[in-house]
């Protein structure tokens, strides 16, 4: 009985605390966020679109062949609100870390972008192990 009360209360808290929202793609349905991959590639297109910002890269392999890679982040709002939409330059080379797509395609959820001049831009979700993110 007491457990039931706690459950109902927890549910009420959850309902009350959360703001109305529209549709979200479930991150975990598409990417394995417990894993990391990395590539270095040339940016060919930076797409400031909904529902997710996308970056397209050419990644040159040692044998000269080129792989097409795509990484995504959240909605475009985060970059736009800060006036940061022009920081990515097509033609520049970036080292990218990402959470890989579960279906094995050349796709990832972007974590860090290492810029040619050494800057690091992180566009990700909070770290569940970091108490500062509570």
């Amino acid at each position: 009985m007491r457990r039931k009360i706690y459950t109902v209360f927890a549910a009420a808290v959850l309902l009350a605390l959360t703001a109305p929202a529209f549709v979200h793609h479930a991150l975990q349905a598409e990417y394995d966020t417990s894993k990391r991959g990395e590539f270095t590639g040339t940016l060919t297109r930076f797409a400031l679109i909904n529902p997710h910002v996308r970056w397209f890269f050419d990644v040159k392999k040692p044998d000269g062949t080129v792989l097409k890679w795509e990484v995504t982040a959240g909605g475009p709002g985060a970059l736009r609100q800060n006036g940061m939409t022009r920081i990515f330059k097509v033609g520049d080379t970036y080292r990218v870390t990402y959470a890989p797509a579960r279906n094995g395609s050349n796709l990832g959820r972007a974590v860090d972008f290492h810029f040619p001049d050494g800057r690091v831009v992180t566009l990700y979700h909070e770290d569940p192990n970091n108490p500062n993110d509570l």
């Binding site: 549910a11 009350a16 109305p20 549709v23 909904n50 795509e70 985060a78 940061m84 990700y124 993110d133």
Partner: protein
Amino acid sequence: MVRRLFRCGVTIALVVLSVWLFTVPATAQNAAAAAQAVPTTRTSDGKPDLSGFWGGGGGQGGEKPDEKGNLKFLQRGRPCSPLQVGTQECAPGVNFERDSGIRQRMNPNKPLYKPEFWERVQYLDLNGNAEDPGFGCYPLGVPRMGAPTKIVHIPGREVILLYNNKNTFRVIPVDGRPHDPINSLDQTWRGDAIGTWEGDTLVVDVVGLTGETWLAWPGYFHTNNMHVVERFTRQGNTLTWQATVEDPEVLMKPWVMNPVTLRLNPNPKAFMVEDLPCEERDLQHMVTKERG
């Protein structure tokens, strides 16, 4: 003993949460009451002036880069519990999506479908990642698009509703004309809408809607014979939007949606941000049906 301590801890946590829970809304309620208490601005014909930028918007907040140009933008969600982390069942962003799904299914105000249609609702809910038109970048349509961001009210002629979402506009005539005979037979995302006044409330009657949209996230479908009545009420510096859905082919009774109350945005520089084009590229890569 351990269990007792655990119970004690849970009780304290609940008490702290309750205090927090009931004080925050109280503050918001006070602010809303204060906004309602000011005199309602009226147009030349004596009706409440619906013009204004309603709710938040135009903010320039968020993370800024440090002096070296490094930027860290982390989307916040409910952190993983130690138990989730321990069992490796939680990773960044997971709770954000899961909470959203639970919350939307738990809204106790549900449209009451005829018994033979619940199976379809459940199918659509289960397969929402493919079936929800919102995921496919389609317009949300009336009434799922909700309350407008901005209103331009031209007394006795028309009320222009502007929505940030998908840069949408609606022009509602308030000059007493009936529904347009052609448009009300059309099938569109915004339908054929006309406005009339019931006292201080603008009542917008919408027909001619498509059957392609959903009413809400949990698979709530409808037919193209849906009839929607929206009510806009300005009290002081607040605007309340409320919609009622009639669709007797599939619903046992009209669905009275939860009202939404917005405050007049006091920022004279508040602006509508252009919503960027939408391109669906995720569905092909999804290996589960989970959505948020």
